[in-house]
Symmetry: C2
């Protein structure tokens, strides 16, 4: 279940303005408190993920989809690290969505997404997702307005299918400011250990910042549904972002009644 | 590069008898030393894996395949945890091979394996593998003797293709004793947190232990090649097993010259 009482939820059916949403949040006493929260939640997630793994073979084996969207440098990789740095990859999988390939472009845009959804017992992280098809595709006009307009309902229908088939969907928009993106891009250039992450093409998207923010706002308005609501996470501070998201994921997993299944065998049933 | 001077290597071209290989090893002072070694290597692997991730976009982007084979309870999941409990799943993927599906059986046995090999920048763990096709398939006679006989060379050819295409292959046989398997199966029945792992079908394989050991011995003899040699790891003690395997994986990654690539951008090249 998505965590319903978070202040960072974009409540389905209520007005949503991105300008009302801060990119910074004063919810932790200090950065070291935020770090400790993320650490503690990450460790709890590891245990919960193992129970989820154990339930893969059960009739209602649970499935979890964590979806991360955000502008370049907003911290999609960093969030993934914070969530799963303590969890072995037995049943956790990261699926990055890059520019579509030719075979992908020859199908509908949800084709490659459907292929990647979690199986029973799995947690899958989407690093970007089908929402790119109403974000960059919209801003750069890779599709016409009518096609984009149809996609919001298509996406809601698709996600409802997943939820009704037993998937918990947690959607996070990593919300950063234009200034913070500038700082992080400069830091990538300055730091030899981060330089591999710098892509000059990111500057083209940066130049279209207001159009992207409009597209994000419309995305949240149209696709924050009771089945799969959006969380809009203040992400200018990495430690705060990690603490907030690991908290929400932890609480969501805790609400799923994950447990080691009992197949009914008992000692003495078999001669070993 | 596989680690060439490990005492647990099945040296290509040299005689191999499984009966010469112990399931216990006295290589660490104590179990707590073994635990500390696995911990330290696991942390080092995390850093190396991140560099490998950074190199995904480079021309010779490295690829790593870690292949785990062993009887039930030999610790394939446990080894995966030890290797990657400190590594986020950004570029680490676990591929379990179960009984083949109908579409898989309609192709050759390497079809589903080829689909799952690591891409540039990836580490993939095979939990079981194509070697099941010369193990359980042989012991239970799911294929005729001539077909099995052909497979050793087919597998060597397939692995050479992967190695010549830039993949490092590390193959581990987790070697346990018949007694230790009995102990672990009983423990699964007795421990409510482990009971979900108990599969009565495992007892059928256990009854065929000598035939399986013969099949493992032949497998190592025929497929421990210079391209992709086998390590036969004493696995009766979990901490020793984890320490030995994390050490070998760490050394292999260290020999690969992993580093954060420098795309040549410099501060000042761009206005941000």
């Amino acid at each position: 279940m998505p965590h319903p009482d978070s202040p960072f939820l974009a409540v389905p059916g209520q007005p949503f303005d991105l300008s009302d949403r801060a990119t910074v949040a004063d919810v932790f006493e200090s950065r070291s408190e935020a770090k400790a929260v993320a650490q503690e939640c990450g460790e709890a997630i590891s245990e919960l993920a193992h129970k989820l793994y154990a339930m893969a073979g059960t009739k209602k084996g649970p499935k979890v989809l964590i979806l991360l969207q955000g502008m370049d440098t907003s911290g999609k990789d960093g969030t993934t690290k914070a969530l799963f740095r303590h969890t072995p990859p037995l049943n956790v999988r990261v699926k990055p969505f890059k520019a579509p390939t030719k075979p992908e472009l020859a199908r509908d845009y949800l084709w490659r997404v459907h292929e990647a959804v979690p199986a029973k017992g799995e947690i899958v992280v989407f690093n970007r997702s089908h929402y790119e098809d109403v974000l960059v595709v919209k801003v750069r006009e890779f599709a016409d307005a009518e096609t984009i307009e149809q996609r919001y309902a298509q996406i809601n229908d698709f996600e409802r299918l997943l939820v009704e088939s037993g998937t918990v969907i947690l959607k996070f928009m990593l919300h950063i400011s234009h200034d913070m993106q500038g700082e992080r891009l400069r830091s990538r250039l300055e730091n030899p250990g981060k330089r591999w992450k710098f892509n000059p093409g990111d500057l083209d998207d940066r130049a279209l910042w207001p159009a992207f923010m409009d597209a994000y706002e419309t995305m949240v308005r149209r696709t924050s549904t009771p089945d799969a609501p959006w969380y809009v996470i203040p992400s200018d501070d990495k430690k705060t972002r990690n603490a907030l998201i690991t908290q929400i994921v932890r609480k969501s997993l805790e609400s799923m009644d994950l447990h080691y299944p009992d197949p009914g065998h008992r000692p003495g049933d078999y001669e070993i």
